[in-house]
């Protein structure tokens, strides 16, 4: 799967990959972590809708179930993908901030 198809499924993938970049997490811990660092509250249906696409693309992998909850971890391909997307976002953010600063100074 290419960058484009992940991009199509919006920022949720980036939030999930960012959360999993820290440590493997099950669904509930993912929702709470994303809420903490991004202020976005995902529901179970939308979380798993995005998670399924990421797993299909080989960007995350399921771990064995613990206490009837299944943790997920980011794969090396997922790390590459995330690095690429965040670098791109950072580059655009920099340009945008510079332009705003120039326009208001």
């Amino acid at each position: 799967m290419t960058t484009d198809s992940i991009r199509g499924s919006s920022d949720r993938s980036v939030l999930i990959l960012t959360s999993l970049a820290g440590s493997p997490k099950h669904g509930y811990a993912l929702i709470k972590d994303i809420e903490d660092f991004a202020g976005v509250t995902l529901g179970a249906g939308t979380l798993y809708g995005a998670l399924a696409k990421l797993e299909e693309a080989g960007l995350v992998a399921a771990l064995p179930e613990q206490d009837r909850r299944r943790p997920y971890q980011i794969t090396p391909a997922g790390q590459d993908q995330l690095r690429e997307r965040l670098s791109e976002s950072a580059r655009i953010a920099q340009i945008g901030l510079r332009r705003i600063a120039a326009a208001t100074s």
């Binding site: 997490k25 811990a29 529901g43 179970a44 798993y48 995005a50």
Partner: protein, 236 residues
């Protein structure tokens, strides 16, 4: 006052106390996911929704909307639109003809007390038959019972294996059951008028239209399955 180390029932990493069984309506909504997705993620989605509800992190309404959003992500918006069209049809048409109008007929003549509770079985059977029909129209035919938004192919599954017009039969069971429940001759007349209207509509319009739309496949179906009186399916 200082006590011994405080016990917490929460597992490390946060979350509500242990996963439990999600509510029944959550498991029903999860049934809307495609089979393969459900086999892999269904239990996790339902379990997580149950956890979020128990922890007070979400409300039933938001959880239901989120599950439908998940179905839209997996199946596409067309499937969710199909679900919503069927719910709207059910509220508007059977809701008006099977609930609101009978209620008006009863209320208009001071006849509101139930007299025969056994009739609720007939009403429930009619409602269940209706649900079974709608499920097949949506799942097999990708349509609704409304002639303006009908299935795109001949649906010969579920109750349609036994009889060609089970939705009309379901409607008559519900309204006939209501007439019995309230001992209301007026409702019985209403049910009889419905039956006559259905028969004229089916023979005068619907069957011709289906023949025009579907040709051979409808002709075969019409030959093997009766119009009104159910019959065990013919296994050739």
């Amino acid at each position: 006052m200082t006590g011994p180390a405080q016990h917490t029932r929460r597992p490390a990493g946060g979350g509500p106390a242990g996963p439990g069984r999600p509510p029944r309506w959550v498991r029903w909504l999860v049934m809307l996911y495609p089979r393969s997705y459900r086999a892999r993620y269904g239990a996790e989605v339902a379990g997580l929704t149950g956890d979020l509800l128990r922890a007070g992190d979400t409300t039933p309404l938001r959880a239901a909307a989120d599950l439908l959003g998940g179905v839209a992500m997996v199946r596409g918006n067309r499937a969710v639109s199909l679900i919503i069209r069927n719910v709207v049809f059910t509220v508007v048409v059977p809701g008006l003809g099977g609930v609101w109008l009978p209620w008006r007929i009863l209320a208009g003549h001071g006849h509101a007390a139930p007299v025969a509770w056994a009739a609720t079985v007939v009403i429930a059977a009619g409602a269940a038959l209706y649900g079974w029909c709608v499920w097949n129209f949506a799942a097999v035919g990708r349509g609704t019972p409304g002639p303006w938004d009908a299935p795109r192919r001949v649906v010969a599954a579920g109750p349609y294996r036994f009889v060609r017009n089970p939705i009309y039969i379901a409607a008559l069971l519900v309204v006939g059951g209501e007439a019995w429940l309230f001992g209301s001759p007026r409702l019985l007349v209403y049910a009889a008028a419905m039956a006559l209207t259905f028969h004229l509509f089916v023979t005068g319009y619907e069957e011709r239209k289906l023949s025009r739309s579907f040709g051979g496949s409808y002709a075969d179906y019409r030959r093997t399955v009766p119009r009104w009186i159910p019959r065990p399916p013919h296994h050739a």
